[in-house]
Symmetry: C2
Subunit: 232 residues, 2 copies
DNA sequence: CGGGCAGTTGACCCCGCTCAAGCGCGGTGG
DNA sequence: CCACCGCGCTTGAGCGGGGTCAACTGCCCG
């Protein structure tokens, strides 16, 4: 992280989502206190197990959150995109980070110290409530994920992940998904081996359900994908 | 749920855990407003997908929370025991219930209407904060569960579940786990087939790691169980 | 006494993991 | 400029963990 990258925050993230609930005054103080950095692709913002001293919000870019298994394999839990905040789980539960946060696409990240974040929660109950809603939503997502991994087969899960990426990141003008993951990352998301992802992607391609070009993925038949994913 | 079971709450649950943070006055109002019921084993408190109009706290008993897969198989997400609250996720995120809550052991359950619960959060920031800590802790647990199911084999997971039950429910004077699940429920917890659970339990028994007597399980070698579970 | 459910065991076999080999491509250095 | 290396991707072969099916037992309860 080079020095010239510091303090170039555009304030996007704190105008977004849950920060809608803070007052003008709180906003001004927050703008003053927060601290922004740019991170390159592949850089780690924090490691699983490390103590977190504040909350991060993403101005731009994509960050993946993963846990590492005993054999060193990454299990991706979720992604953050522009406007999302992360790290708040550790700050609130006062535990070490339960995931590693690594940059997938060059990101601009704001940092809000824990003390100030907790102060905001205490003083603004609307803010506290929307934060609670956020963590509850994440909890619901995690519960669904547990069911999926436990009961669906790899083919169904891959279909579901493609739909999830489609919903979260959308498509560019060419119709390609706006996120470019390695096969290994896809495997870490689905919870399977890289080779299995490759084989199934080839099948989907053969069946004209998706189109592949390197890491670009275009969904051609979203209905069929939904049918395969078995999600009603 | 028979009529004579209503309004016999002992107030245990609202003296517990997160309700420590409420004031005397709030406590008195809450005692007046809340509503208590007894539920027999097997009764459903609410179903996955139904709208929840308040938050539940458990005075006594055990409740399991599970999601149902497309093939009808239960995936148990977690248990509640005396002092725990549940249903708050749906109330806060304003979504339908993401799990079914079913009584495993006869339970005394208090109900707090959503409006009053939200009022408490708005007016008592300490209460809000400890509730947030609770949801964040659950989120951390869920994330760990995802990693486990995705990367560990059934043997490792079963060992881990036995340790988890041991930590959560403890043992009685005979050293048996204080929770009595069917083999099918254990399978739904581990995320596997009933037959696999049976076979592995037999193995653990053969290896003198556990003792079995119907649904009673006694852990004989907790170290070995920890080794098998691969959890560091 | 009979029906039904939980538990158990054996047989079978398929999904998906692992290992290995080969390919394409971009970067680096001689 | 080309040779080489390494990484990501792809494909094939093999096999084993664990899911499924079926049969049997024991037990509870009507």
């Amino acid at each position: 992280m080079s020095y010239d990258k510091i303090n170039k925050c555009e304030n996007y993230s704190i105008t977004n989502d849950i920060f809608k609930k803070i007052t003008k005054e709180e906003y001004d103080i927050l703008s003053y206190i927060k601290n922004c950095n740019k991170y390159d692709k592949g850089e780690v913002i924090y490691h699983e197990g490390s103590r977190i001293t504040g909350v991060y919000c993403l101005d731009s870019g994509i960050v993946k959150h993963y846990k590492t298994g005993n054999d060193g394999k990454e299990q991706i839990i979720r992604f953050s995109k522009a406007g999302d905040i992360f790290g708040y789980r550790s700050v609130l539960s006062n535990e070490t980070a339960c995931t590693t946060a690594k940059v997938v696409e060059e990101s601009s990240v704001c940092f809000i110290p824990a003390t100030h974040f907790l102060k905001l929660i205490k003083e603004n109950s609307d803010f506290a409530l929307s934060l609670m809603q956020l963590s509850c939503k994440e909890l619901g997502d995690a519960n669904k994920y547990i069911l999926d991994i436990a009961q669906k087969n790899v083919r169904e899960r891959l279909a579901e992940i493609l739909l999830l990426l489609h919903d979260n990141f959308g498509t560019n003008s060419d119709g390609d998904l706006n996120i470019f993951l390695t096969r290994e990352e896809l495997a870490g998301l689905v919870g399977t081996a890289t080779e299995s992802v490759i084989r199934l992607l080839s099948e989907f391609k053969k069946d004209k359900i998706i189109q592949l070009n390197k890491r670009k993925i275009k969904i051609l038949n979203i209905k069929e994908l939904r049918r395969i994913s078995q999600d009603f």
